[in-house]
């Protein structure tokens, strides 16, 4: 049986995935943070110094990541905890990890066969932007640029080849 990765490589029928990632992210923010994400106009490269990542393994293998700046991460955390932004502390990583986890889970549940055949790893969160990420995958990455309270968020899915 072919994995979804192999199917993707064979026929490239994954152009609908970016909209699914967008919907998955919007639903998470709407339901869990009570706020609406809007689509960002692609302009200059924003500085995104908080990165939350969740690995996918099984029928689809890859990494789903949610990136934003510190201010956005603190605001997300404050909305999730129901406290003022200046009251959030070390829970930022926990909150961003949960967001990435829910976006990845929500995304895979929207694709037939993936809910059963794909597992999620525990989230990993990187604070800071002084790093280079080298992916060994040769498949395309799907990226969706969104705005959260006028601050940029980048949601991406890098599929392992």
């Amino acid at each position: 049986m072919k994995t979804i990765n192999q199917v993707l490589t064979a026929d490239g029928k994954h152009e609908n995935w970016a909209p699914l990632i967008e919907v998955a992210a919007k639903e998470v923010f709407e339901l869990m943070l009570s706020c609406e994400l809007t689509v960002a106009a692609t302009a200059e490269e924003p500085i995104l110094d908080v990165t939350a990542m969740v690995g996918l393994a099984g029928q689809l293998s890859g990494v789903m990541s949610v990136r934003c700046n510190t201010k956005a991460a603190e605001l997300m955390t404050s909305k999730m905890l129901g406290v003022a932004p200046d009251k959030v502390g070390p829970q930022v990583a926990d909150a961003l990890g949960e967001i990435a986890n829910m976006v990845a889970g929500n995304f895979k549940n929207k694709i037939s066969g993936l809910a059963e055949g794909c597992m999620l790893s525990p989230p990993t969160v990187i604070i800071g932007n002084d790093y280079n990420l080298h992916s060994m995958a040769d498949s395309p990455a799907f990226e969706v640029s969104l705005l959260f309270e006028a601050m940029p968020i980048l949601v991406s899915l890098q599929i392992a080849g």
Binding site: D94, A115, E116
Partner: protein, 165 residues
């Protein structure tokens, strides 16, 4: 046995008491009867994310469920330790957790005196139908998929509380 039938509404139990003054027949909403006033419950929330535990607790309150005490555990083993010393009315539990996951936790519950008959509702990002069936067959009484709204929490938790005996 199809354990999913456990989610069907059962008659309200002793956690609700009747308000006799009401004259009109009440409407049914989300599977429980409005003429019954709630008595505060004690809940145990099990999730490896402290942020998610906070969200679940807030959602319970936003759902109109009167919660007097909330116990929190970061994994199944911590939850079992809490249950050896405390009685609760409801357990809300994630599946994917370190040390002891949610499925193993609910399998251990029959051996804990304080946990006997206490309903467990799973709250997880896991969307696999096989995992849902597995959780229900292990004894879970309901299943809520993340992300969720307080209304969805109410929809799943209130019937489970009402059916608790």
């Amino acid at each position: 046995m199809d354990c999913r039938s456990a989610q069907v509404l059962s008659p309200p139990a002793d956690i609700f008491r009747s308000e006799r003054k009401r004259t009109k027949p009440p409407k049914r909403s989300s599977g429980y009867r409005n003429e019954f006033k709630r008595v505060p419950i004690r809940a145990l929330i099990v999730d490896d994310s402290s942020v998610m535990r906070k969200i679940v607790e807030r959602s319970l309150r936003q759902a109109g469920i009167d919660v007097s005490d909330v116990f929190q555990a970061g994994d199944g083993a911590e939850a079992l330790a809490i249950l050896t010393a405390n009685k609760v009315d409801l357990i809300l539990c994630d599946i994917n957790m370190p040390v002891m996951d949610g499925l193993e936790f609910i399998q251990q519950l029959p051996g804990v005196e304080n946990a006997k008959g206490i309903p467990v509702v799973m709250i997880t990002t896991e969307g696999s139908e096989a995992r849902v069936v597995q959780a229900l067959s292990c004894g879970a009484r309901g299943y809520i998929r993340k992300p969720f709204t307080p209304e969805q929490v109410k929809e799943h938790v209130v019937p489970v509380l009402a059916g608790k005996s």
